[in-house]
């Protein structure tokens, strides 16, 4: 057994801490739960989006050569965690992933300019193939990047398609990538196109993982506060281990999940060819943790937790609502297995 001697440093640099604090403050001020509610059912708040542009939330992730600030995934996950913590009604994850993709190909330059000017919100169609699919951020985006056949394609529309009602009140919409109302341009072909598309999918999963950790943390705080305050049988309910230990399990998932996300992020940014299983791993773990966290919070809050008045249900809806667009999360374990064990061999085929 040969041991790979590597550092295991999960900490943030001073700059990263400052960035995190800035976005924490921003979302705390700009995105209270009332704002999330008032953006329902459409899942988009135009004014918040504008203010977020003022924070350069999308531009920061674009390389300097493309007119951005050149931040890496290490920084973007800090923003994404705060987005998730407030379940902010803005498609920032999709937009930043798509903008980075546009910056990677010369043919994307014009659209990227429009994105940085704020006139276009771009997104990514997560499933390879040319037909109709539900696209995250698709009801506010005018540009979607997709893999159609072997081509990486930019599909543009004059105006976004109608949102479809959904459990997570997310801004998702059907995009018919072969339809007559989209104008298509090829950004890259063959191997290059497929690789870029795969990389974008991995980036989307990493940032979404970070958002899910943020969601879990936020509902944990709601549950802990209630467990301290609520009295039953003459004692705060937090003294009952059935309550406290389920919150402890959530706290462990949040802390450990965050470490996993950081590790996956670091590899994707610095050594993308190594330990590729970490991205599907982080994504699967984070979505599972968020489902558990929101379930526990709704339960700890008692009957009130189950009402639409409770903030816990805002998170409960989005734990699935922000992820299922990518498909059944259990499939991530398949991707993970392919990376770790090599592709399955079909006997007799």
């Amino acid at each position: 057994m040969d041991l790979d001697l590597r550092r295991a440093d999960y900490s943030l640099s001073d700059d990263q801490e400052a960035l995190q604090a800035a976005f924490e403050t921003f979302f705390e001020r700009e995105c209270p739960a009332t704002r999330v509610r008032s953006a329902e059912p459409f899942g988009f708040d135009e004014e918040l989006w504008q203010r977020l542009a003022g924070m350069r939330a999308v531009a920061m992730g674009v390389p300097e050569s493309g007119g951005g600030d050149g931040a890496g995934l290490e920084e973007l996950i800090l923003v994404a965690e705060e987005v998730g913590r407030r379940v902010a009604p803005v498609p920032v994850i999709e937009a930043v992933v798509a903008a980075r993709l546009l910056a990677a190909v010369p043919a994307g330059a014009d659209t990227l300019d429009a994105v940085l000017r704020g006139s276009v919100i771009p997104t990514i169609a997560l499933h390879a193939g040319g037909g109709d699919q539900l696209v995250p951020g698709g009801s506010v985006a005018r540009a979607a990047i997709a893999l159609v056949g072997d081509d990486l394609v930019l599909a543009e529309r004059d105006r976004p398609p109608e949102q479809v009602a959904n459990q997570g009140h997310a801004p998702i919409a059907w995009w018919d990538l072969g339809g007559s109302d989209v104008e298509r341009r090829t950004l890259a072909t063959g191997r290059e196109g497929r690789d870029l598309f795969e990389q974008a999918g991995r980036e989307w999963r990493i940032l979404t993982s970070a958002a899910l950790i943020g969601m879990s943390r936020a509902v944990l705080d709601l549950g802990v506060q209630h467990a301290r305050d609520r009295v039953a049988f003459g004692a705060p309910i937090g003294t009952f281990q059935a309550v406290s230990h389920s919150l402890v399990d959530v706290a462990m998932s949040v802390d450990t999940g965050r470490r996993l996300v950081r590790k996956a992020t670091w590899y994707q940014q610095h050594e993308p060819g190594v330990h590729r299983h970490l991205v599907p791993m982080a994504y699967f773990y984070a979505q599972e943790a968020a489902v558990e966290a929101t379930t526990v919070a709704v339960h700890v809050l008692g009957g009130v937790g189950f009402t639409v008045e409770s903030d816990a249900q805002l998170y409960f809806r989005r734990a699935k609502g922000w992820t299922l667009v990518a498909g059944d999360p259990q499939r991530e374990l398949g991707a993970l297995a392919d990376q770790l064990f090599g592709p399955a061999q079909v006997v007799g085929a």
Partner: protein
């Protein structure tokens, strides 16, 4: 964030080779067989050989019996010993107690024991648990009475692991039964020559012990810290033991949760090797979707056990080991039940062993429930789970 490869300079690379040679020489198949059979958590020849190189206290200065190793070299040493399955429980308890001896022992006591600890011929075990007290450590009833310059110890300890390998027990006693629970305790480094040791066998194959102290007389120099303030003395090693579960070692290398997660790592490696080998029908189990999906899930869990830290690391690594062990044994089928050395056993019996062994990790060193209480109170700031103060009527 930094997960980059640590490039070893020539000297450090040579050190690693030296450690590997050492492991090959001293951690032989016979040593591993004996450990598997007897569960001693200790091998005398290996331990003395470590001592000879200053590797029992590797970061201590050479003149103090250590090897003056840098943190990186000490981590390499620890990781290689772990990877080679070195029996290490008694080394662990010895080095856990040593700081308390350094902090509270008189010069005379230190001169008596410390050089021997470094050499390897003096070893310590932990004497906290009793038949009637475990999680509630401070409820210990073993009595110590003062008699002039001596103390007389009366009582029984349970689960004093490694006592058969040790010369001294880090012993928790009650000196004042009238004081509040935490205020009447005193710690000793009690010589074991007059205590009676009886073996207890465990499900995981480890040996631990009952130890009887029947009027054992020891001089006052074996007392550690002030009379009736043993709780304060105990807290150092107790907290260190709790932190031992911390899977982030000093030189920031990922490691599988110390002794808690390691059985899951070995069992998973064994299962992956098994799954990649074609069976009698010519098919590899890894190509069976049912196997593949579960192995992927277990790989995820083992990764979590490796990267979790602090009290969460203690809980997660232990519970992952239990969960993964129970499913891997299912996966390999009836052969999963066959132990090391049996005809048809899978991958040296690691999976069979892991399923039994993992269970104990949730109990010793403070149970997973006790650790959940610790996180609830100290991390989440929840009110303490209140034990009933009156007996229910």
């Amino acid at each position: 964030m930094d997960f980059s490869i640590i490039e070893l300079d020539d000297e450090t690379a040579r050190f690693r080779d030296e450690v590997r040679e050492f492991c090959k020489r001293y951690i032989t198949a016979e040593v591993l067989d004996a450990e598997y059979r007897d569960g001693n958590g200790f091998d005398l020849e290996l331990h003395m050989a470590l001592g000879e190189r200053g590797w029992i206290l590797p970061t201590w200065a050479k003149e103090d019996g250590g090897a003056g190793l840098t943190g990186l070299k000490a981590s390499i040493l620890a990781l290689e010993l772990e990877a080679h399955h070195a029996p290490s429980i008694t080394k662990g308890t010895t080095t856990l107690v040593l700081p308390a001896v350094m902090r509270w022992g008189t010069d005379e006591l230190k001169a008596e024991v410390v050089p021997g600890v470094a050499r390897g011929d003096i070893r310590f075990c932990l004497g906290y648990t009793e038949p009637d007290s475990g999680s509630d450590v401070a409820a210990a009833r073993t009595r110590a009475f003062r008699d002039g310059d001596e103390w007389v110890i009366d009582g029984q300890k349970m689960f004093t692991t490694g006592a058969q390998n040790c010369q001294y027990s880090f012993l928790l006693t009650r000196t004042n039964p009238d004081a509040a629970k935490h205020k009447g305790l005193t710690m000793f480094l009690c010589p074991l020559d007059h205590a009676e040791i009886q073996a207890i066998r465990t499900l995981g194959g480890e040996r631990t012990n009952m130890v009887f102290y029947d009027g054992v007389r020891i001089p006052d120099r074996y007392r550690l810290g002030p009379v009736d303030q043993g709780w304060m003395v105990l807290l150092g090693p107790l907290n260190a033991e709790h932190a031992m579960a911390d899977s982030a070692p000093p030189v920031t290398l990922d490691s599988p949760g110390g002794m808690y997660g390691i059985s899951a790592v070995f069992a998973l490696e064994a299962a992956v090797a098994w799954a990649a080998t074609p069976g009698p029908d010519g098919r590899r189990p890894i190509d069976d979707p049912l196997v593949r999906h579960r192995l992927a899930r277990h790989a995820l869990d083992v990764e979590m056990a490796t990267i979790a830290t602090g009290p969460a690391g203690r809980i997660i690594s232990s519970e992952v080991a239990i969960r993964v062990g129970a499913d891997l044994i299912d996966m390999v089928g009836p052969r999963g039940l066959l132990p090391r050395g049996e005809k048809g056993t899978v991958e040296d019996g690691w999976i069979e062993h892991s399923h039994r062994f993992a269970q104990g990790t949730a109990t010793y060193g403070g149970t997973t429930d006790v650790f959940r209480n610790i996180i609830a109170e100290r991390v989440l700031g929840l009110p303490r789970s209140a034990p009933p103060t009156k007996s229910p009527s």
